[in-house]
Symmetry: C2
Subunit: 136 residues, 2 copies
């Protein structure tokens, strides 16, 4: 339930119910109800106000209760997003990526060294696979 999430985050921050209620700008009585799931239908604005001082957001507070599955799995971190966005902007298609990914399956990139050679040159450090391209 939604109450647990809030309580957990609140205690992690070391806030009392009263303190969080003040920071959020909601009544402590209402916050108490919510935490104990005696009131499980707060408004969006109340949720947003509570989430803010917890440095959280509505989705997280909702957890898996209401939201459909896609939002439950935790989000890929920011760095990844940037990298991928960049790649997509540069024209990489899903098909391209999948094809290459399938080549370099699972454990291949776990503990190995690498270089990337395309057409007998083009080096790539910071990776651990050698990809050697051969024309036909």
């Amino acid at each position: 339930m939604i109450g647990e999430r809030i309580k957990s985050l609140r205690e992690k921050k070391g806030y009392s119910i009263t303190k969080l209620a003040d920071l959020a700008g909601v009544s402590k009585s209402y916050l108490s109800y919510i935490e104990r799931n005696m009131q499980n239908n707060p408004s969006l604005q109340v949720m947003a106000k509570i989430a803010a001082p917890l440095d959280s957001n509505i989705e997280y507070l909702l957890g898996k209760e209401i939201l459909p599955k896609r939002n439950q799995e935790e989000t890929l971190d920011e760095e990844w997003r940037a990298i991928i966005k960049n790649a997509v902007d540069e024209g990489m298609s899903k098909g391209d990526f999948q094809a290459l990914k399938d080549l370099v399956q699972s454990n291949m990139w776990k503990n190995s060294r690498v270089e990337t050679n395309v057409h007998a040159s083009q080096k790539k450090k910071s990776s651990n696979i050698i990809i050697l391209h051969i024309d036909n």
Copy 2:
């Protein structure tokens, strides 16, 4: 605002306000208010009920209005997320991804023949690149 999102999705599905209200189990009057942003503080349950028949979810409906920044920037295409998450779970590092990205860009691999050798063996058909793994 939140109203636009709902209206847009609703019309995309070809639903009338009355129809969506029925499907969602909320009153059409209230739905009308929400769409026109005359009521911008619905409860979580109402939001969830409206989102369901639209095959959507609360976050999307919220858009960038209430949620903190991380949720504002448009979400990376779901399909990409799944693909990347999967690859990461299989052990792909950021460096690995960059290497693949560069390969994709070079476009060379597209029309060529391939084999995959890992540790001097491990073949991979149905592709056109030789990937040669080397331990360190």
